[in-house]
């Protein structure tokens, strides 16, 4: 697999045959990504300007509330704001002041717009700009959209990172650098850093990093490797600043991780023997870790309802490395730029859908009765009650699943519901 320039992978042709559905969509909005982004970027605060619904969504999506004062909050709009009795930019600044009072050491404050703030056209970008001009302090204030009318679920991270790109300094150093893009659990990030180090790729940065005070630089010498599949707009923004997108599948499973590292190794001219000797142990370990689940997963049929944008890479991993048979792969939207290396790896006979029409999609699942359905949290128990086994997908966002040493854990997430079915005597799954 060779490194391909971004311009080569942007083409739409050669993509899969996708049915586009426009109907009721059972997906989270982009605000949900704050749940993992605030854990990743620990010196940042996320201030949503929205309604009580926004606040309720974030705490509900988090499943259990996080056991401390969170690094996110919602400025809930009220009648005064809507009636124009309150100056919204003054109000937002009052909210910022409140946040800073509790957390004076923040480095970045994200002003996140929501459906209601966008519909009444509160210009958070302008408010952020004016705040920075006036305060001239060290606090970076950035606005981005997490609204449901603009973003779905993981797109919230894309929107956040995209709006950080203009903040990145220009990369002036001659030496090429590798930028890994997409928030990863710290443990995965550390594993990746060790392996890149062993490959001799020393100019390495992760975006987003654990702190936001200094951002990685960007320029023509920057090669980007996407660690998450939902970052199309961020990738485009980075490309626009001169970076080169390395063509690779995503680091899910042994094979996916190997190809992902290979894309970087080839781009940085890592000698083949160094690549092989570095990758051998982790690759073999990953393969071994999959053995335990194969028996459970092999030849089992799996359907993906649209949710996290991880559907296509997961279907690839589960079919090629675990022997599962994907029947339907639906994704909130299909981005040819990020899926170029993934889509061709899916087996024949998969039905592809973009968007959603919930009731029709549920009808299809009821008719085909796959062994496992990957879906959002709201739908999982109802399908279980109808005798179908499910895997709710938000867990895939909260667990470390990328890289060689998580391949087994990833397979286990899908095997566990099937093992449970085999164990239980009570109730019935047909």
């Amino acid at each position: 697999m060779g490194a391909v320039l971004a311009t080569d992978v942007g083409r739409k042709d050669g993509g899969p045959d996708i049915t586009v559905e426009r109907g009721q969509r059972a997906v989270f909005c982009g605000l949900t990504s704050i749940v993992w982004l605030h854990r990743k970027i620990q010196d940042a605060f996320f201030l949503v300007v929205g309604s009580r619904t926004c606040a309720h969504l974030i705490q509900s999506a988090a499943g259990v509330m996080i056991f401390s004062e969170p690094r996110f909050a919602t400025a809930v709009l009220d009648d005064r704001d809507l009636a124009g009795m309150a100056d919204c930019s003054e109000e937002v600044e009052r909210m910022i002041a409140k946040v800073l009072q509790r957390r004076p050491n923040l480095k970045t404050l994200f002003l996140v717009s929501s459906c209601p703030s966008e519909v009444i056209k509160i210009d958070l970008e302008n408010i952020a700009k004016r705040y920075r001009e006036r305060s001239q302090g060290s606090l970076r204030v950035i606005s981005y959209s997490g609204s449901g009318i603009e973003t779905t679920f993981t797109q919230g991270e894309d929107s956040c990172l995209q709006n950080l790109v203009p903040e990145m300094p220009v990369h002036t150093v001659e030496k090429n650098q590798l930028l890994v893009v997409g928030s990863l659990p710290d443990i995965v990030e550390d594993q990746f850093a060790r392996l890149f180090g062993e490959l001799g790729i020393e100019e390495l940065n992760f975006f987003p990093g654990r702190q936001s005070e200094t951002l990685p630089s960007i320029g023509p010498g920057t090669r980007i490797l996407l660690a998450q599949p939902y970052l199309g707009e961020t990738a485009r923004a980075l490309i626009a600043r001169g970076a080169t997108l390395l063509a690779a599948p995503f680091p899910l499973g042994a094979e996916g991780s190997l190809a992902w590292f290979r894309a970087a190794a080839e781009s940085f001219n890592v000698p083949e023997d160094v690549f092989k000797s570095t990758m051998r142990a982790p690759f073999e370990r990953a393969q071994r870790s999959l053995e335990g689940c194969k028996e459970t997963l092999e030849n089992r049929r799996i359907a993906f309802l649209p949710d996290s944008q991880l559907e296509i890479p997961l279907a690839r991993f589960l079919s090629r490395e675990c022997g599962m048979v994907p029947t339907e792969v639906s994704t909130p939207f299909y981005d040819a730029l990020t899926m170029a290396q993934e889509a061709p790896l899916l087996p024949e006979g998969v039905e592809w859908f973009e968007g959603q029409d919930l009731d029709t999609a549920l009808d299809r699942v009821r008719a085909s009765r796959p062994d496992l359905t990957v879906c959002g949290m709201g739908i999982a128990n109802p399908l279980e009650a109808e005798g179908l086994r499910t895997k709710w997908s938000i867990e895939l966002m909260f667990s470390p699943i990328q890289g060689f040493d998580q391949a087994g854990d990833l397979a286990e997430l899908f095997a566990r519901p099937l093992r449970r079915q085999a164990r239980l005597e009570v109730g019935s799954w047909s």
């Binding site: 009721q24 969509r25 059972a26 997906v27 989270f28 909005c29 949900t32 300007v49 309604s51 009580r52 619904t53 606040a55 309720h56 969504l57 705490q59 509900s60 999506a61 499943g63 259990v64 509330m65 056991f67 401390s68 004062e69 969170p70 996110f72 909050a73 919602t74 400025a75 809930v76 709009l77 009220d78 009648d79 809507l82 309150a86 919204c88 937002v92 009052r94 909210m95 409140k98 946040v99 459906c115 209601p116 966008e118 519909v119 009444i120 609204s147 449901g148 009318i149 603009e150 779905t152 009731d359 959002g376 949290m377 709201g378 739908i379 999982a380 128990n381 109802p382 279980e384 009650a385």
Partner: protein, 514 residues
């Protein structure tokens, strides 16, 4: 704008979904942007519902804005009517759709649908979830019963047994499922029939039967008060609004039902409640004056204050609610206990109050459970918002005599048991059984796995503890040590002392035990 970290209540349209999800053959078409479908998981995950709530969302996106969202709503409405064929369609806006002013109610009226439509106005920017549930229930009942004749009570059709409606229980309410069973069996036990339970389990056809009962029971005023008032105006139906939460309240409730129906009830004959004896038994002596902090919805908070102070002999040190609509009632209940009620929807304020008051038990919502856990204080959940563990598999009502038993067990359990308190003192210096070990019955509570270090207040840093005083403090059992430390320090500040000696400790003890 109001800065909100965690919210006690959802937006009003979630209240509408709760009512729709509670009922049979009702479907809600909600004009809402993509993402608002998160509300499904409240029902399917937290309450483990085996079916999606009966809601179809329009889930419009940016590309639909600018004229076509109204069509999007109409298409969704027609498709939902076709697919689900409900007896009644509810239509409403979520917060974002309200701003578009598509007016689903007017649109639905022109949609040419044969199913009756009840339009809801959720006023998302000034109201919250419980109000939304109340308004939805009221609009449904009023919408179906407006213009219906009051059934004539003739000698022929008057049933032999009196009957009541139980109004207010909903999905995602606190223990509603079990409360209904308990109250129904209590009433059946004294010869009273339950005519309609609503919204939970009722269909629109059932709502039409409401006027056939003799009395309404306003079981959850947050949801049913406005409906009960309307039914009284419309049909002259009396209602009882004493909520049977706690032993005394259950007896008061039965007395009120008896009086309203003019029907004698022998309460003693059905009173098998164990709470009164358990509370009088000697082991419960240690409950005397336990400091308890109470926060929740108004109904559960007020009831808990009565049970805590008058039925368990606790000392209520704080009482509050997030429900501003019922703030007056909570203020009155607090005043009776010599307290000022805490009325707030800001959980940080609640946390600060708990920290300041240093109670031995917190009775609250899911939020207070987190607060108590962080502060290492025992806690029982008494009100929504609640999490998945508060929708238990077992029968666990809060209302009625069995509910009082459940409350006794649940509230006493997180406390250090009477005998154990003495043992802790006796064995304080034992190398295995010492006061840094967690009481055995709490070890598996998931709560306090390790006792948090006592915090020395940074503001009091100018006060020093003499070594001897510090050692003496350690001899005091851990569960009062924090309080002793704070009391002694505030005593020292009050008396201008810089160093706390052993003597100061005992001076303070005497001072505070007056």
């Amino acid at each position: 704008m109001e800065l909100t970290l965690w919210t006690y209540e959802g937006p009003p349209h979630v209240g509408a979904i709760r009512v729709a999800a509670s009922m049979e053959r009702v479907h809600l078409v909600l004009h809402a942007p993509q993402g608002d479908t998160y509300a499904d998981l409240l029902f399917t995950m937290i309450e483990r519902d085996g079916k999606r709530p009966p809601v179809t969302y329009t889930t419009f996106q940016a590309r639909d804005l600018g004229g076509s969202t109204a069509n999007c709503f109409l298409d969704t409405l027609r498709a939902a009517a076709d697919r689900f064929k409900p007896q009644v369609l509810l239509v409403a806006d979520s917060c974002t759709a309200e701003l578009l002013q598509d007016q689903p109610g007017s649109l639905a009226a022109t949609a040419g649908i044969s199913i009756p439509v009840v339009p809801l106005e959720m006023v998302a920017y000034s109201r919250k979830e419980n109000w939304g549930a109340s308004e939805t229930f009221f609009q449904l009942v009023a919408g179906l019963l407006r213009g219906v004749e009051k059934p004539a009570a003739t000698a022929d059709n008057r049933p032999v047994r009196p009957s009541v409606n139980l109004l207010g229980p909903t999905k995602l309410g606190f223990r509603c499922r079990d409360d209904i069973l308990e109250i129904e069996s209590l009433l059946n036990g004294v010869g009273i029939d339950v005519n309609v339970v609503a919204p939970l389990g009722a269909s629109p056809a059932d709502l039409l039967e409401i006027p056939n009962a003799d009395l309404n029971v306003c079981l959850y005023p947050e949801v049913a008060a406005s409906t009960c008032q309307w039914l009284k105006r419309q049909f002259g139906m009396p209602y009882v609004d004493i909520v049977p939460l706690g032993y005394g309240a259950t007896r008061d409730f039965l007395t009120a039902v008896s009086e309203a129906l003019d029907y004698p009830i022998n309460i003693d004959a059905i009173d098998h409640c164990r709470l009164p004896w358990y509370s009088r038994s000697v082991d419960s002596t240690y409950l005397t004056g336990k400091r308890v902090f109470i926060f929740g919805d108004a109904t559960h908070a007020i009831a808990a204050a009565r049970v805590a102070s008058r039925e368990l002999g606790f000392e209520v040190v704080g009482l509050g609610t997030y429900a501003r609509e019922q703030a007056r009632d909570v203020r009155a209940a607090a005043k009776e206990l010599g307290l000022e009620a805490l009325i707030t929807s800001d959980y940080l304020e609640v946390e600060a109050a708990v920290e300041r008051l240093a109670p031995e038990l917190v009775l609250g919502t899911q939020m207070e459970r987190h607060i108590a856990k962080r502060l290492g204080i025992g806690c029982a959940v008494i009100s929504t918002p609640a999490h998945v563990q508060d929708y238990p598999a077992r029968y666990s009502p809060q209302m009625g005599f069995e509910g009082a038993n459940v409350m006794f067990d649940t509230w006493v359990h997180p406390l250090v048991m009477g005998l154990e308190e003495h043992l802790l003192t006796m064995f304080r210096d034992d190398f295995e059984f010492n006061d840094s070990a967690v009481p055995s019955h709490l070890a598996e509570e998931g709560g306090v796995s390790k006792r948090p270090e006592e915090q020395v207040n940074a503001d009091d840093a100018e006060i020093a503890w003499a070594n001897s005083a510090e050692l003496e403090l350690k001899k005091i059992p851990f569960f009062v040590r924090g309080k002793a430390r704070r009391n002694t320090e505030s005593f020292a500040v009050e008396h201008g002392l810089n160093v706390i000696e052993v003597e100061t400790l005992y001076e303070a003890k005497a001072h505070f035990s007056r």
